[in-house]
Amino acid sequence: MKEPDKLNIDQTHYTTRVSRRWAERKHYTPPEPGKIYSFIPGTVVEVLVREGDSVSAGDDIVILDAMKMKNRLKSHISGKVISINVSPGDRVPKGVMLVEIA
């Protein structure tokens, strides 16, 4: 038989069933402002920077065509482009790291 689940609330361990939603919850990861992800699936139209370029916070980095919109993905930070993982024409799913700035 499966060991019953335990849930720790205020340092007390309760014997109980835990829900799937709780068991599969996404654990928190701190934001990484230098990494630019596709926030929606789409097609890369243009990459406006090259590796080694210096960019400022607010500069357009990638143009991603999704939901009939040409979305301009901007840099959150100022720094150097250290990697580019896509080229124009690439179809990307949601959550792909496109460009990294440090």
């Binding site: 609330i9 205020d10 340092q11 007390t12 309760y14 014997t15 109980t16 829900s19 709780w22 799913p93």
Partner: protein, 514 residues
């Protein structure tokens, strides 16, 4: 002879209409395990009680070849009848006629029966089985939906509104059920979503089946949009009848009183709850041990199982039970369970159904995901709903009642009328382990044997505070009772509060943390 001929004519006309979209379409409907619109109505209503209106309504669309199309009854059946003697208004979309699509006249039939229900102050039952807007009728069909949503909202809290999803219900159409009180779904038949699998695939590249996206199980388990799950239409119809037996027909009258039947002796109330507050049990057994005939009609059984809600009777009168479920997630309040409970509390309050709250919870669920999902706002809904409710509020604290959870679960402070506590109750700011670690942090960390000291301090705290008597000494608990006295005292409390009156300050409406 002219009269006879005219009557014959009427009969022929009726028969044609009763065929809906025709035999072929009906066959298709049946092949999907579905009944026709009129069959569904007949199955819900008392035999012979259905009176149909607007059978001969025709659409007047002219574009896209619609002028040549005849759609019997314009794809929706409306009328009135009775359910176990209780008058109700009902509509059922007819999928065999143009896929049950909603055009202007179709919507006018629905709004006509909705207006009727509100005016006569009788419950409204809506059976949804529709491909969506009738595209050929353009903005008129959007207007139709808007008129329905408006009436759903205005009728909310005045008459009970029941939605039955027996086919597709997609796009804007889903908002009518969402605005009603109870949504019934059936496995493999009900499908509800705003955007279907096709759109999701083309726009987002995510592939998902209709069933996995918006099937009956999904809405009962995951989204919480539906309240009652059935394996067949027949099971669904009997659930509807059972629900109707518990609720009043409008907000001015009380639910019908049934013959009181004592609970089944097999539920021994002294033996259900373990003394150790960390051990689980099924709180539904406690409900069954106090409710008439041990009959508990649960709502949203599969969603946010850490809280249990539903109807039962005490001394023949309908009450709404709200109970923490220690068997699931230790019975905590979290985003989903708060949402579920708060809505039910407001339903009961709107329809004069007294609330019986059974408390056993360690508090609110900790976690980043909960905080980021807005547990503050959702948790506040429970406080709001209980505070605002003016129906009789009866509370029984079975075991743990810690922290914010204690306050939220119909405490004296939110104006519970009766607060009973079992001797096993622990009404405290938090569990002994957590509390001792904070209060005696210094003693524990500086001790030569911290574990031993911690154990001592936890015991000390338990002895002093993990009981109902501190709260009772302040009058926060009216009475510490033996579990076996629970039913008797609840019956008494209900009797005392039969004519309860509460004056609220004048306002248009509050701003609940939606």
């Amino acid at each position: 002879m002219a009269l006879e001929k005219k009557i014959r004519e009427l009969k022929e006309k009726r028969e044609k209409m009763l065929l809906g979209g025709g035999e072929e379409a009906i066959e298709k409907q049946k092949a999907m395990g579905k009944n026709t619109a009129r069959e569904r109505i007949m199955s819900i209503l008392d035999q012979g009680s259905f009176s149909e209106y607007d059978m001969f309504v025709e659409h007047d669309a002219r574009d896209f070849g619609m002028d040549k199309k005849h759609l019997p009854s314009d794809g929706v059946v409306i009328g009135t009848g009775t359910v176990q003697g209780l008058p109700v208004a009902i509509f059922a979309q007819d999928f065999t006629v143009a896929g049950g699509s909603l055009g202007l006249m179709h919507s006018r039939k629905i709004t006509k029966i909705m207006d009727h229900a509100l005016k006569m102050r009788i419950p409204l039952i809506g059976i949804n089985d529709s491909g969506g807007a009738r595209i050929q009728e353009g903005v008129n069909s959007l207007a139709g939906y808007g008129e329905i949503f408006f009436r759903n909202t205005i009728s909310s809290g005045v008459i009970p509104q029941i939605s039955v999803i027996l086919g597709p219900c997609a796009g804007g159409a889903v908002y009518s059920p969402a605005l009603t009180d109870f949504v019934f779904v059936v496995e493999n038949i009900s499908k509800m979503f705003i955007t279907g699998p096709e759109v999701i695939k083309t726009v987002l590249g995510e592939e998902i089946s209709m069933e996995a996206l918006g099937g009956a199980r999904v809405h009962c388990e995951v989204s919480g949009n539906a309240h009652f799950f059935a394996m067949s239409e027949e099971e669904c119809f009997s659930q509807i009848k059972k629900l109707v037996s518990f609720i009043p027909r409008n907000n001015d009258v009380k639910a019908r009183v049934h013959d009181p039947v004592p609970p089944d002796k097999k539920y021994d109330i002294e033996k259900i709850v373990p003394g150790d507050p960390t051990l689980p049990y099924d709180v539904k057994d406690v409900i069954r041990a106090v409710a008439d005939n041990s009959d508990f009609f649960e709502i949203q059984e599969m969603y946010a199982r850490n809280i249990v809600i539903g109807f039962g009777r005490l001394g023949g009168k309908t009450v709404g039970f709200v109970a923490n479920q220690p068997m699931e997630m230790a019975g905590v309040l979290d985003v989903d369970s708060s949402d579920k409970a708060a809505r039910f509390i407001r339903y009961c309050d709107a329809f004069s159904i007294p609330l019986v709250t059974l408390v056993d919870l360690p508090g609110y669920l900790p976690g980043v995901d909960q905080e980021h999902a807005g547990v503050i706002r959702h948790g506040a809904k429970v406080l709001y709903a209980y505070s605002e409710a003016t129906v009789p509020k009866l509370t029984v604290i079975l075991r743990k009642a810690y922290g914010g959870g204690y306050i939220a679960m119909s405490s004296r402070h939110l104006r519970a009328d009766f607060v009973f506590a079992w001797p096993t109750a622990e009404i405290a700011v938090m569990g002994p382990e957590g509390a001792a670690n904070i209060i005696f942090r210094k003693e524990i960390t500086t001790a030569a044997n911290p574990d031993e000291v911690r154990r001592q301090k936890v015991e000390e705290y338990k002895e002093k505070f993990a009981n109902p008597y501190v709260a009772a000494s302040r009058g926060y608990v009216d009475s510490v009772i033996e579990p076996s006295e629970t039913r008797k005292l609840l019956l008494h409390a209900l009797e005392v509060s039969e004519d309860k009156v509460v004056q609220m300050p004048r306002k248009k409406h509050g701003i609940p943390p939606f």
